[in-house]
């Protein structure tokens, strides 16, 4: 079997597994998986920038929230239906990521991390400042009756699951294709040795900007989908914590691998699920996992698998 065939099998197989899971697993886990798949899209967006391009952003919550509030506010304040609201959510994330990318890419390394962190923090504070419209930390609910897309009721378990699966599959396959394309490989080259990539004739600045925009838009799509499928938008999703989560998921699952994001979200979700039944300080687990990961397994789960066994994994 060629490497391309192996990749296709891996990707399509994952989707098939997720589809089948709906019919096999109990309702509780099916509900979890809906959430997991949407968050995995967020992780995929983050992985594109961090894992493949090598840029560590600490402000991705800004993009997630842009999508979430873009959709949420359109529906709540302007009474738009789901389809145009989705477009607005997506557009908000796209525009914001273009602006942030343009500004933040003038810095690098630690400064880039801090700049993205600052912009995201400013975004969170702005949401609070306009609390009359956004309801701040409390957030607002998007009515069940409104959450219908193309005739499908997204608030039902089935509708929600398969909408999440459709979204996940689309992003999963699109990004998998992208990272194996010349564009994706150039991003990896930039991650590995930017100066060398530049001196091979690649416009590294434009490449990085495109990477930020793609990453931010996918993250925004996840945010919009989250609001739509779970009927809620709140400022918590714009906090630093929600910028750290995708970093955590991607590191745990395997940065720079296609299935890493999904694996990371599943693992972390259930790790927190289990530990929050023991203590309210479940983020302690997150902290310990982060430290252990960076000490002993910086490649993450899928990354270690790729390093040791499945060298063909994209």
């Amino acid at each position: 079997m060629s490497n391309t065939q192996r990749s296709n099998l891996l990707h399509l197989g994952t989707i098939a597994l997720l589809a089948v899971a709906f019919f096999i697993l109990p309702t509780y886990h099916v509900g979890n998986l809906s959430r997991i798949m949407v968050l995995a899209v967020y992780a995929i967006g983050y992985n594109f920038l961090f894992g493949y391009t090598g840029l560590l952003s600490l402000g991705h919550a800004l993009f997630f929230a842009a999508g979430m509030y873009g959709l949420g506010l359109s529906m709540e304040l302007f009474d738009l239906t789901t389809a145009p609201a989705l477009v607005i959510g997506l557009a908000s994330a796209l525009v914001i990521s273009a602006v942030i990318g343009f500004l933040a890419l003038r810095t690098s390394g630690v400064s880039f991390m801090i700049v993205t962190l600052m912009f995201a923090q400013a975004g969170y504070l702005t949401i609070l400042y306009f609390g009359t419209y956004t309801r701040g930390d409390e957030g607002f609910v998007i009515q069940q009756a409104d959450r219908v897309l193309f005739g499908v009721d997204l608030s039902s378990d089935t509708g929600r699951y398969f909408a999440a699966l459709a979204l996940f599959s689309a992003c999963f396959l699109a990004v998998a294709h992208l990272v194996q394309s010349p564009f994706g490989r150039t991003l990896v080259a930039i991650r590995e040795n930017e100066e060398r990539a530049r001196m091979l004739g690649y416009d590294t600045v434009t490449h990085k900007l495109k990477a930020v925009i793609i990453s931010g838009t996918i993250s925004g799509l996840a945010g919009a989908a989250y609001a739509l499928l779970f009927g809620y938008a709140g400022a918590t999703f714009a906090t630093v914590q929600y910028s750290i989560f995708p970093l955590l998921w991607v590191l745990l699952g395997g940065a720079g691998t296609t299935i890493g994001p999904l694996i990371g979200v599943i693992f972390m979700f259930y790790l927190i699920d289990l530990s929050s039944s023991i203590t309210s300080a479940y983020m302690l687990i997150a902290g310990v996992v982060l430290v252990l990961l960076t000490l002993f397994a910086p490649q993450g789960l899928a990354g270690e698998l790729r390093k040791r066994v499945f060298k063909w994994m994209p």
């Binding site: 560590l56 600490l58 500004l103 933040a104 003038r106 810095t107 390394g109 630690v110 400064s111 991390m113 801090i114 700049v115 600052m118 912009f119 923090q121 400013a122 504070l125 702005t126 609070l128 400042y129 750290i244 970093l247 590191l251 203590t279 309210s280 300080a281 479940y282 983020m283 302690l284 997150a286 902290g287 310990v288 996992v289 982060l290 430290v291 990961l293 960076t294 000490l295 910086p298």
Partner: protein, 307 residues
């Protein structure tokens, strides 16, 4: 209160903020200057200082001043020691690789914060200041017969807050003397300038880093101990000081200690003044965006060197 006295009050409150901020930001600045490490857990070391101060003072009975003085000595030492341990066990093992260090310190942040939540609890707990007399402050009014002093109602400051300002100045001066005059300071500066050459000259760079990391955390802890009689100890209290310290260090210029002090005064004072007259949220938004813009367009800040 009229504008004048109001401004004076805001300035004094700002001076207290600036004093604490200078200590906290200085810790962050030293660590970055010497080790090139961005310690995201810095705010949690700050919080630990306050929490330990609470433990010490609640264990020691009698006059609050005794407990406070003890806390002032114990908390920074304990926090410094913990930080040094974290450096040796974690940061040195990953060789201060920038990406992995950020991740490790984020992990450390959650570990410290959540452990505190589990032991100290989610409530805010007050600590008694060692002394707390209210001092009314005079203001001048131009009337017939020239300037006359009067004491506007509400224009006052506590003796403790004055103490905080004085203490911060004293500590920072000692630090300055340490860095510029002592052998330890010389070793620190040498390591900062060129760690490889320092190593070749027999400077134990690893150990210097451990001490510096501990010192940085200890400074933050001192700031927190000083502030806790004013503010109360809470497991989430490290979040805002972390952001503010970052802002200060960046505006002052990464790696420049004088820059950090100047920025701390500017930011502490303006934060105090702006928050009195405008919405604090708006003030924070402006400050955050300002930092981002400084990094984008003038990365060396006020006085720093380019990284």
């Amino acid at each position: 209160m009229d504008f004048g006295p109001h401004l004076l009050l805001a300035s004094l409150e700002g001076a207290v903020t600036a004093a604490i901020l200078a200590l906290t930001a200085m810790g962050l600045s030293i660590v970055f200057g010497v080790m090139r490490v961005v310690n995201v857990a810095h705010g949690e070391f700050y919080m630990l200082g306050a929490v330990i101060a609470w433990w010490v003072t609640s264990l020691i009975g009698g006059h609050p001043a005794i407990g406070f003085v003890l806390a002032l000595g114990i908390a920074p030492l304990v926090v410094g020691f913990l930080a040094a341990a974290a450096d040796k066990l974690i940061l040195q093992k990953i060789n201060y690789d920038p990406d992995r260090t950020i991740v490790a310190t984020i992990g450390l942040l959650y570990i410290i914060q959540q452990t505190t939540l589990m032991t100290f609890g989610p409530d805010a707990r007050p600590v008694q200041p060692p002394f707390n007399t209210r001092l009314a402050l005079p203001w001048f009014e131009y009337g017939e017969g020239g300037f006359a002093m009067f004491w506007p109602w509400g224009l006052s400051i506590t003796s403790y807050k004055l103490f905080v300002i004085v203490a911060a100045v004293a500590i920072l001066t000692t630090l300055w003397l340490l860095i510029t005059r002592s052998k330890i300071g010389l070793i620190m500066r040498a390591t900062q300038l060129d760690s490889e050459t320092a190593l070749a000259f027999g400077v134990p760079v690893d150990r210097v880093y451990m001490w510096v990391f501990g010192l940085g955390a200890g400074l933050a802890a001192v700031g927190a101990v000083l502030v806790v009689p004013i503010q109360q100890a809470h497991y989430l209290m490290g979040h805002d000081p972390l952001l503010l310290a970052f802002i200060t260090v960046i505006i002052g210029g990464l790696g420049s200690l004088p820059g950090t002090i100047i920025a701390a005064i500017l930011i502490g004072m303006s934060d105090g003044i702006i928050s009195v007259f405008f919405s604090p949220t708006l003030a924070k938004i402006i400050a955050t965006l300002l930092v981002a813009m400084v990094l984008v367009f003038r990365p060396q800040g006020l006085l720093g060197r380019s990284t």
